[in-house]
Amino acid sequence: MGEIAAGGGGGHKKGGKVRSKKMSTRIDMTPMVDLAFLLLTFFVLTTTMNKPKTMEIRIPEKDDNSEPIDINERRVVTLLLGDNDKIYWYPGINPATLQEANYSKSGIRKILQENETKINALFGNKEQSMFVFIKPLDESNYKNVVDILDEMKVVDITKYALMEATGQDKSIIQQYASSMGAPNTP
């Protein structure tokens, strides 16, 4: 074919035998590489992105006949998880000192840290560190529970218990809400 093309052309100065042009064996691979890397990026991103993380929790056994442990009330902090991402908390077992907090860094985390240092100063040993009761109210949602458990991990509180809110807790919140809500209502 090269020869025919050369003969047809005829415009060569030498007129003699035309050497067939040596075609380069290289192909431009750029588009192929582009495609390959595009696919590569796609698969890399899709495989690693949707790995869910997990939080391991442990609940007591149902027929737990072990003796209930006595805890000094000064070591206890009770958190009540309410609606609209609110936390109500009080130190000890006296709900009269109920206060409101939120899930932010400067909210509950600070409170927990402050209480922890206070309790550590009071008792001064690791065995008797702060004990947190977490009582989610019916209005709270799953996110609140996970958030507060996460907070336990962040603040490094090892002693906490997730328990059901009692009727007493609910009335405390109601009382608090009505006492706080009164001045705000127009």
Binding site: M29, M32, P52, K53, M55, I57, D138, Y142, L149
Partner: protein, 198 residues
């Protein structure tokens, strides 16, 4: 000495090794990528700072939708087949081989046992259209207990993971926790998505 001519190298690089490598990696990722079957319910998991990654195998996932419906999912086709066989025996329903295969190939399911046969008779498209009511988990009628028990019987290394929606109300979550306690599953995982904004 004579002048050394600088060696003129061609401006094109041989890209073959790079392409080889790229395609090798593409093939690897394509083969390892697992396209999970479409979930019947969309769930937004809450965020946490936790870094533990859930293993892919031997997991029993309880998906908890916003409305509080529980969907159950067991990883592994053979485990799923075993599970539906066991559940059938427990509830006195005999499933055909075809129905078992269908269950094994599916994803999360939230159909009470009474309607299971009916549901498995549908084709995939019709199944997707069905609004699944959730596995009964109330104290009066608690099928979830049996599901968990049977799943654990068919695979002793099973881990339980709860995948709840952010906005699921706590009483619904509590019902699941109570059920787990009843079946003596005292260690389990809460699936969360990584926190990116902090």
């Amino acid at each position: 000495m004579g002048k050394v001519k600088p060696h003129r190298s061609s401006p094109t690089i041989d890209m073959t090794p790079m392409v080889d490598l790229a395609f090798l990696l593409v093939t690897f990722f394509m083969l390892t990528a697992k396209f999970r079957p479409e979930e019947p319910v969309q769930v937004t998991t809450p965020k946490s700072n936790s870094q533990i990654i859930i293993p892919e195998n031997d997991v029993l996932t309880l998906t908890l939708s916003k409305e509080g419906a529980v969907y159950i999912d067991v990883s592994g086709k053979s485990a799923r087949k075993q599970l539906i066989t066991n559940m059938g025996e427990k509830y006195g329903i005999s499933f055909t081989e075809e129905e078992k295969e269908k269950f094994a190939g599916g994803s999360s399911i939230a159909i009470p046992m009474g309607n299971m046969k009916q549901f498995l008779a549908l084709d995939l498209k019709a199944q997707k259209a069905v609004k699944q009511p959730g596995i009964p988990k109330d104290t009066a009628q608690n099928e979830l207990v049996d599901w968990i028990k049977q799943a654990r019987l068919s695979n002793t290394r099973l881990r339980v993971a709860i995948k709840g929606d952010e906005n699921t109300k706590f009483p619904e979550v509590n019902k699941v926790l109570k059920t787990l306690q009843e079946t003596n599953v005292t260690v389990f995982n809460l699936l969360t998505s990584p926190e990116n904004d902090k």
